[in-house]
C-alpha cells in the first residue's frame, strides 16, 4: 500500500469515528432511533460520500451527481450525520432529529431534507426506486451511478427479488447496491428469523455481479466499487459483512440495540470508547 493510500485510510477512519459519535448523539438526544444498523453502515456511507461519489453539497440537485439511496431507512442517522458533515445543511439541525417540525424525520423524507434522494422507511422499496432512477438515467443517456444500501433483514421482502429480476433484465450497470450483512434484524439473528444464506449465490443466480467483502474495510469497499464500475451489462450487489453496533463494544452483535436509544450512562461510555484513537 502506498503512503498516500494509507493516509487516505487514516483520514477515512477518523471520519468514520466522528460520524459514529454524531449518530449516537442524535439518537441519544431524540431518545429514539436505530443505533445498531446505523453504526454497521458507517464505513460504506463514509466511503461513498467522502471518496467514491461525485456530488456537490452546495448544489444538491446537480444533475450529474451520483445518487445514494438508503433503502434501510431506519438507519437515517448515518445518512443525516454524513449529509450534515458534508454541508448539505447545518450540523445544528441534527439536534432536531425526530422532533416535530424538523426536516430530519425518523425515516428519510426526500421532499424535506436536502441531499436525501428517496423517501424510505418501509423496507424493500429503495432498491426498486433506485432501479427506476437508474433506468431514467439510462434513458437520458446520463453516466452517473446509483448506490443503494439495503439491510440483510430487508432482503427478506419479496419486492427486493422482484427488483433483482428487473435490474438484470434492463442491464442496469449504473447500479451498485450493498447489503449490510450484519446477520441481525429486529427479532434476532437473520438465520433464525428467516434464513438468507447462502446469499451470494442467490444474487448470482438473479444475474447480478456479486461480491462479498468486509464492510468495515475502506480498502475493500472502494476497491470493489471500482471493480464493479468496470463491469458492463449487469448491476452489482456487494454483500458487505459487518458488525451491527460496530464501534461500541456493548452494542456490537447485540440485537437489542436495533432500535433502542442509549441512556445517558451508556451514551457517555459509548462516546468515551469512540474518542480513543484507533
Amino acid at each position: 500500500m502506498s503512503r498516500i493510500e494509507s493516509d487516505r485510510w487514516t483520514s477515512l477512519h477518523a471520519k468514520a469515528r466522528e460520524i459514529r459519535r454524531s449518530i449516537l448523539t442524535m439518537i441519544h438526544r431524540a431518545r429514539s432511533g436505530h443505533p445498531g444498523g446505523s453504526l454497521s453502515a458507517v464505513e460504506i456511507v463514509v466511503a461513498l460520500y467522502y471518496h467514491l461519489m461525485r456530488h456537490d453539497p452546495k448544489n444538491p440537485r446537480w444533475p450529474q451527481r451520483d445518487r445514494f439511496i438508503l433503502s434501510k431507512g431506519h438507519c437515517a442517522p448515518v445518512l443525516y450525520a454524513v449529509l450534515a458533515d458534508c454541508g448539505y445543511f447545518p450540523k445544528e439541525d441534527l439536534e432536531t432529529f425526530r422532533r416535530p417540525g424538523s426536516h430530519l424525520q425518523g425515516h428519510p423524507a426526500q421532499h424535506k431534507t436536502p441531499g436525501v434522494e428517496a423517501s424510505t422507511g418501509t423496507l424493500g422499496l429503495g432498491l426498486s426506486t433506485g432501479l427506476g432512477m437508474a433506468l431514467g438515467a439510462k434513458l437520458r443517456g446520463d453516466s452517473h451511478d446509483y448506490y443503494i444500501l439495503c439491510g440483510d433483514g430487508e432482503v427478506q421482502e419479496g419486492q427486493v427479488w422482484e427488483a433483482a429480476m428487473f435490474g438484470h433484465k434492463y442491464r442496469l450497470d449504473n447500479v451498485i447496491a450493498f447489503i449490510d450483512r450484519n446477520y441481525l434484524q429486529t427479532d434476532g439473528s437473520t438465520e433464525q428469523v428467516m434464513p438468507l444464506d447462502p446469499l451470494r449465490p442467490k444474487w448470482e443466480a438473479f444475474g447480478w455481479n456479486t461480491y462479498e467483502i468486509d464492510g468495515h474495510s475502506f480498502e475493500q469497499i472502494i476497491g470493489t466499487v471500482r471493480h464493479a464500475q468496470l463491469q458492463r451489462g449487469r448491476p452489482a450487489m456487494i454483500i458487505a459483512r459487518t458488525t451491527k453496533g460496530k464501534g461500541v463494544s456493548f452494542m456490537e452483535n447485540e440485537a437489542g440495540w436495533h432500535g433502542t436509544p442509549p441512556n445517558s450512562e451508556q451514551y457517555e461510555r459509548a462516546m468515551e470508547e469512540l474518542s480513543r484513537a484507533v
Binding site: 431524540a30 429514539s32 432511533g33 431507512g73 431506519h74 432529529f97 425526530r98 422532533r99 416535530p100 417540525g101 424538523s102 430530519l104 424525520q105 425518523g106 425515516h107 423524507a109 423517501s119 424510505t120 422507511g121 418501509t122 423496507l123 424493500g124 433483514g153 430487508e154 427478506q156 421482502e157 419479496g158 434484524q185 429486529t186 427479532d187 437473520t190 428469523v193 428467516m194 432500535g259
Partner: protein, 319 residues
C-alpha cells in the same frame, strides 16, 4: 390515571386463548419485540411463526393456516398490515372470508418518532372497505384484551387496531364486549360525542369540559367500526341533534365518515369530524403529536361549541 399499552392487552389475551384452544397460532413479521408477540413466543414457541420482514407472505400463509382449520393471528404494524399487504388481505383473506385475525399495532399518529412512514392513519379506511372484514378499535388495555377474545370467538376475518404508546385505562368501557355494539358512557341532551379507540379518554374529558359550560354531552364509544352500530348512532342523534366524532385516524374513511354516511341516510344532523386532517404525520413524541394534530379533548369540545353555535344561529333565524 393509569396508562397501559393496548398491544399488551392483545398479547396477554393471546396467551390465555392459546391455553384454551390448541388451534390458536400467531405469526409476526420481524417486529415481535415491538408488537409484543415475543411474550407469546416465550410461552408457546411451537405455535409462533416469525416470517421475517415479509408482511405479504405472512398474510397469505395465515390464509393457508385458516384453510387448514387453525385460527391464525397475523401481527405486524398497522401500515404494513393495511398498505403493504392490502392485496393479500383483500384477496387471500377477506374475499373467501377466512378465519384470519389481523392484529395491527403502531396505529395512528401516536406511533411517534418513526414518523409518517410508520404512522397508520389510513388503515381503518382501507380495512372497512373490504367486504367481510370486521374492524375492531379498542380504547385501552382491557378492551384490547376483550376485543382479542371476541375476535377469536367470531368466525371470519377481523382487523384489530392497536397502538404503540401507553394510553389511559378507562374503567367505564370495561363492561362486556360485543362485536358490533357501541357503549354509551354518558347521557346528554345537547350533543353526541362519538369516539373510537384511544380517543375515548379525550371524549370523556371533552364531555366534562362541556358540562362545566352547561352543555350536556352524550358520549358514545365505538370499539367496533364494522359492523357499525347504526342504531346507537341514530338513536342518540335523534335526541341531541348534533354529533362530533373523534378518532386517531384520517377524517377520510374512518369513524367520522362512517357516522356521516349513517346519519346522512337515516337522520341528517350537523356533524363535525375530529381526526387527522388529510395530512401525513411527522416525527415527535406520541403525546405532543396528539396535541399538534388536533386530537385532544379541547379540540373535541371546540368542535362541539362550533356546532352548537351554528345551531343556535339557525334557530335564531327560523324563530
Amino acid at each position: 390515571m393509569q396508562y397501559k399499552q393496548t398491544r399488551q392487552g392483545y398479547v396477554d389475551a393471546l396467551i390465555e386463548l392459546a391455553r384454551e384452544n390448541p388451534l390458536v397460532v400467531v405469526l409476526d413479521a420481524d417486529v415481535a419485540k415491538a408488537t409484543r408477540t415475543c411474550d407469546f413466543e416465550k410461552v408457546f414457541p411451537e405455535r409462533f411463526f416469525n416470517c421475517g420482514v415479509q408482511e405479504e407472505n405472512m398474510m397469505s400463509v395465515a390464509a393457508g393456516l385458516a384453510l387448514e382449520g387453525f385460527i391464525p393471528f397475523a401481527t405486524t404494524f398497522g401500515v404494513f398490515a393495511s398498505c403493504r399487504a392490502a392485496d393479500q388481505v383483500r384477496n387471500s383473506i377477506a374475499y373467501p372470508k377466512l378465519n384470519v385475525k389481523i392484529a395491527a399495532t403502531h396505529c395512528g399518529i401516536s406511533t411517534g418518532g418513526d414518523g409518517a412512514s410508520h404512522q397508520a392513519n389510513e388503515d381503518i379506511a382501507i380495512m372497512r372497505s373490504f367486504p367481510n372484514m370486521t374492524v375492531l378499535v379498542p380504547g385501552d388495555y382491557e378492551e384490547a384484551r376483550q376485543a382479542t377474545r371476541a375476535a377469536a370467538a367470531y368466525s371470519g376475518p377481523v382487523y384489530l387496531r392497536l397502538g404503540r404508546d401507553t394510553y389511559p385505562v378507562v374503567e367505564q368501557i370495561h363492561g362486556p364486549f360485543e362485536i358490533g355494539k357501541a357503549k354509551q358512557l354518558a347521557e346528554g341532551r345537547d350533543i353526541t360525542i362519538i369516539t373510537t379507540g384511544i380517543m375515548v379518554s379525550e371524549g370523556l374529558a371533552a364531555a366534562r369540559l362541556l358540562g362545566g359550560e352547561g352543555i350536556s354531552a352524550e358520549l358514545i364509544h365505538m370499539p367496533t367500526l364494522k359492523p357499525l352500530d347504526e342504531e346507537a348512532i341514530v338513536d342518540s342523534a335523534r335526541r341531541t341533534g348534533a354529533v362530533v366524532t373523534a378518532e386517531e385516524h384520517s377524517i377520510i374513511g374512518g369513524l367520522g365518515e362512517a357516522v356521516a354516511a349513517c346519519l346522512a341516510e337515516r337522520c341528517p344532523v350537523p356533524l363535525r369530524r375530529v381526526g387527522v386532517r388529510d395530512v401525513f404525520g411527522e416525527s415527535g413524541m406520541a403525546q405532543e403529536l396528539l396535541t399538534l394534530y388536533g386530537l385532544r379533548a379541547s379540540h373535541i369540545a371546540a368542535a362541539a361549541r362550533e356546532l352548537l353555535k351554528g345551531r343556535s344561529n339557525a334557530l335564531g333565524r327560523t324563530a
